[in-house]
């Protein structure tokens, strides 16, 4: 490279360095800009929140320093309905991967940032990729997810690896931001929204009086018809313990389940798409005619209650059976949807199912992501004082903007030791290779009498087990217990196993103790 070109590039980069972040420099200073450049950030999701966050991160220059980077992962492809608020995407991007497209666009907004994209779903399957080494190098995780399960999963991972997590979400004009800080705050999973008012079963089945009731009925019907039914049929074929398990169920459940299995595998098993259509038409007749006729047979329109009141009144609305009409759009839609869904069950042809529509507008997302970035500034500045951070709650329709300090993590105690959800016992494999050594280590170092040890949902040791079993388990190595008893494999990237234990303290009372991180020897 000629010297002059090098010089120009150097000058240009110097000028950009100095000038591009001038506004941020004016507010926070140079040291802050250096820190933010070296931030290593994991952005989980590249939907509406992901797009806004990535744009803000590009403007801030996150990952523009020598040690910094942004990694964004999203398994979804771009759809037309995304374009209304996922503003990094254009009509010609429909069908492309969200994460790689958004990474390209924000890179063009600020060519200095280092950004990578993955198409992975976060979960058990990708723990080999997003493993301990990966997390150990991160500054922070920012969630940009659209469902509670994935949020809970990332929350667990961040607590486990003690990494800060900025969590946010929107629903229509409402939005929230939650700051989760290692050793300080509670986690996302610590507090739960009050459960949605559940609808009584009989209201759903026979006496719906609001559209919510019929929507819930339709969702349950979907679940039973297209999810659990085929699952049971699959278990019947592939799981040798399915029959034993099913027959042990109470009441009429075994009969109901087995009848459905028979219907799926023998009686109503379709062999063509035409069979699916026929099935859907009959299913319609059953749901909207036969069931209603049966109900009206049991409780005719003029039935009265014991107190003489009409039975069909108040919240009990009198139903009437429908007659199928091919010109009626809803009847057609039902058969089309039902047939396609059933075809999917049996793998006839690919089809797209529209998800549940979640209300969303760009403005709420834009605001919530601004608030996330403000918390990120504080995090990068290295604040450790809870009062500096703010969880945010907004509703643009009112409008309402509320901020509150994050809630500190609950403090538990055993003996005189205090601990929170961020703490774990750490035990090294070489110090306690077998269950015997494991238990005696607790006795020696922590004055705790271990009464039970479990791995995931499997109990490995309990003092109430038969004596010969206890003797056998005590002799086994912790590794073998996981592989042989809990039937789990230990992949090469795994650095630690997670156990939980119940124990008694000095006074023989049940002790409230943290979970155990069992660090494997690297051989």
């Amino acid at each position: 490279m000629p010297l002059s070109v090098c010089l120009t590039m150097w000058r240009r980069s110097l000028k950009t360095q100095l000038l591009q972040y001038d506004s941020t420099l004016a507010v926070f200073g140079t040291d802050f800009q250096n820190r933010i450049g070296n931030v290593r950030l994991f952005v989980v999701g590249s939907g509406a929140i992901g797009c806004e966050l990535l744009k803000n991160y590009a403007m801030l220059g996150i990952g523009s320093g020598p040690g910094g980077m942004i990694l964004v992962t999203d398994m979804d492809a771009i759809e037309k309905s995304n374009l209304n608020r996922q503003f990094l995407f254009r009509p010609w991007d429909v069908g492309k991967q969200k994460s790689s497209t958004s990474a390209l666009v924000v890179k063009s907004m600020n060519p200095q940032i280092r950004i990578m994209s993955h198409q992975n779903r976060v979960g058990k399957d990708t723990e080999g990729i997003y493993n301990e080494y990966f997390f150990s190098r991160l500054t922070c995780v920012t969630n940009a997810l659209d469902n509670v399960d994935a949020r809970k999963y990332m929350d667990l991972r961040c607590v486990y690896f003690r990494k800060p997590l900025l969590e946010s979400g929107t629903l229509g004009t409402k939005g929230n931001v939650q700051v989760i800080l290692p050793n300080l705050t509670e986690s996302y999973g610590s507090s739960q929204d009050p459960p949605e008012k559940s609808i009584p079963m009989c209201t759903l089945k026979n006496f719906p009086n609001a559209i919510e009731h019929t929507l819930q009925w339709a969702r349950d019907l979907f679940e039973g018809t297209f999810t659990t039914g085929p699952q049971d049929a699959d278990s019947y074929i592939n799981d040798p313990e399915f029959m034993d398990r099913t027959l042990k169920l109470p009441g009429s459940q075994p009969m109901d389940i087995l009848e459905k299995v028979k219907s799926h595998l023998v009686d109503d098993k379709p062999s063509s798409f035409e069979d699916c259509i026929a099935w859907a038409r009959l299913f319609w007749e059953e749901l909207f005619v036969n069931v209603i006729k049966q109900l009206l047979h049991t409780y005719p329109a003029d039935t009265t209650t014991e107190s003489g009141q009409p039975f069909w009144s108040g919240p009990k609305r009198l139903p009437h059976a429908l007659s199928f009409d091919y010109d009626e759009e809803k009847c057609q839609e039902f058969v089309v949807a039902g047939a396609n869904l059933r075809a999917l069950n049996y793998g006839f042809k690919e089809n797209r199912i529209a998800g549940k529509i979640i209300p969303a507008i760009a403005t709420t997302t834009s605001l919530v992501c601004g608030l996330v970035c403000i918390e990120l500034y504080k995090l990068v500045q290295g604040h450790k004082n809870l009062e500096r951070f703010k969880n945010g709650f907004i509703n643009l329709a009112l409008p309402f903007f509320g901020f509150s300090e994050p809630i500190p993590a609950d403090v538990h105690t055993y003996h005189d030791k205090k601990w929170t959800l961020w703490d774990k016992f750490e035990i090294r494999e070489e110090k306690a290779p077998t269950m015997t050594a494991f238990i005696s280590l607790f006795k020696r170092q922590h004055k705790l009498d271990v009464t039970m040890v479990s791995y995931g949902e499997t109990m490995l040791f309990a003092d109430f087990m038969p004596e010969d079993k206890i003797r056998e388990r005590l002799k086994m190595s912790m590794r073998d217990l996981v592989v042989q008893v809990a039937d789990d494999d230990i992949p090469h990237w795994k650095r630690a196993l997670d156990f939980e234990a119940a124990a008694e303290d000095k006074d023989e009372e049940d002790a409230d103790i943290p979970p155990i991180r069992y660090v494997l020897s690297q051989s």
Binding site: S313, T363, G370
Partner: protein
């Protein structure tokens, strides 16, 4: 779920320690003129948004011409959200050139555009956001003839003198006027919807519905709902009845204001003249009644601001910030530049 409108007259938001770059403004464009909707709304694009705002609000937005002045980081954020929302047209206005300062927050301008007009520089990328929204740039000074072309005028980076001047023009011509600005970690939003702004929905929630089991015939007739179903209404709400038997006079009436007397009961005024209720049966549902709101003009709000409070621990901060914004503007007007950061001499001015 209809269009929801803000009560904001003057809102100052302080973000603990951050750039107040989050755009907290998106012009809400519905109005009391029932302009004829033009064309169809593309539901495959707008499905999520229709679910929030309702079709009627979408139709009203689809006929509104909007101008956003000041294409800095805040202006482009507003322009982005307004374009995505799907108004009739968007005009990006700016007389200033792109500077290095803009590259830190204006995500639609590039290094090689420094020195060129800001509105023209970002026009291409902004107009790509929504093919249904024609977007143009304007670089001429704002005068009355220009303002009259719009339903909503939003200023995001203008001098104090210009804010007051345009604010007055908008008020005189019944144009919705919005001021938004950010200074470092602080931000300010002002909204003037005029003296008789119609708010169709005050909270954006779905109307409540409850079954009825009894209605008394009395001076102040009482409606009872089943005791497993809190009605959730509030005193002052308006309700409508359907499928009421006996007291059929209640069906299909104009919405009735109510007084809540308990979680399962409320009163609806004199029912003596009606027939006897034959129950149980029928449904009562909340009806959203449009409310007239009167906003302060920018001039009046500067002297007597009505603030919205977001952090009750810092109540008196609002008035301080209100004055701080005015002081900064004065400094800028006097000295021709913003105060230098962390500069004692400038701070003492």
């Amino acid at each position: 779920m209809e269009d929801a409108f803000s009560y904001v007259t003057m809102l100052i938001v302080e973000f603990g320690a951050g750039l107040g770059q989050a755009a907290i403004v998106t012009a809400t464009m519905a109005d009391d003129e029932n302009a004829a909707p033009e064309g169809e709304i593309d539901e495959s694009l707008y499905s999520r948004q229709i679910f929030v705002l309702g079709k009627e609000a979408m139709m009203r937005m689809a006929v509104a011409n909007v101008c956003i002045s000041g294409m800095g980081g805040l202006g482009v954020e507003i322009a982005k959200n307004v374009c995505l929302a799907g108004v009739k047209t968007v005009t990006l206005h700016d007389e200033k050139p792109v500077t290095w300062y803009d590259l830190n927050s204006q995500f639609y301008v590039k290094e090689n555009q420094v020195g060129k007009n800001r509105a023209e520089s970002c026009l291409g990328l902004v107009s790509e956001l929504n093919t249904y929204v024609p977007t143009t740039a304007s670089t001429a000074p704002i005068d009355e003839a220009f303002v009259k072309k719009f339903r909503v005028m939003c200023l995001s980076d203008n001098s104090f003198e210009e804010q007051v001047r345009v604010g007055k023009m908008c008020r005189d011509n019944k144009i919705i006027f919005i001021v938004a600005e950010t200074k470092g970690a602080f931000g300010k939003v002002f909204f003037d919807g005029g003296e008789d702004f119609e708010c169709v929905d005050q909270n954006g929630e779905a109307p409540l519905i409850a079954p009825v089991i009894n209605i008394s015939k009395a001076e102040d007739g009482m409606v009872t709902c089943p005791d497993d179903n809190r009605h959730g209404f509030e005193t002052g709400d308006h309700v409508a009845f359907t499928e009421i038997k006996g007291m059929t006079e209640l069906n299909d009436r104009d919405p009735i204001p109510i007084k809540v007397t308990g979680p399962f009961t409320f009163t609806i005024g004199n029912t003596m003249g009606f027939s006897e209720y034959e129950g149980p049966g029928g449904t009562v549902s909340q009806v959203k009644v449009p409310v007239k709101l009167s906003y302060l003009s920018y001039d009046d709000a500067l002297v007597n601001p009505e603030h919205m409070i977001s952090d009750f621990a810092k109540m008196d901060r609002m008035n301080q910030l209100h004055l701080a914004f005015q002081s900064i503007h004065k400094f800028e007007a006097d000295k021709g530049q913003l105060p230098r950061p962390y500069n004692r001499a400038d701070a003492e001015e």
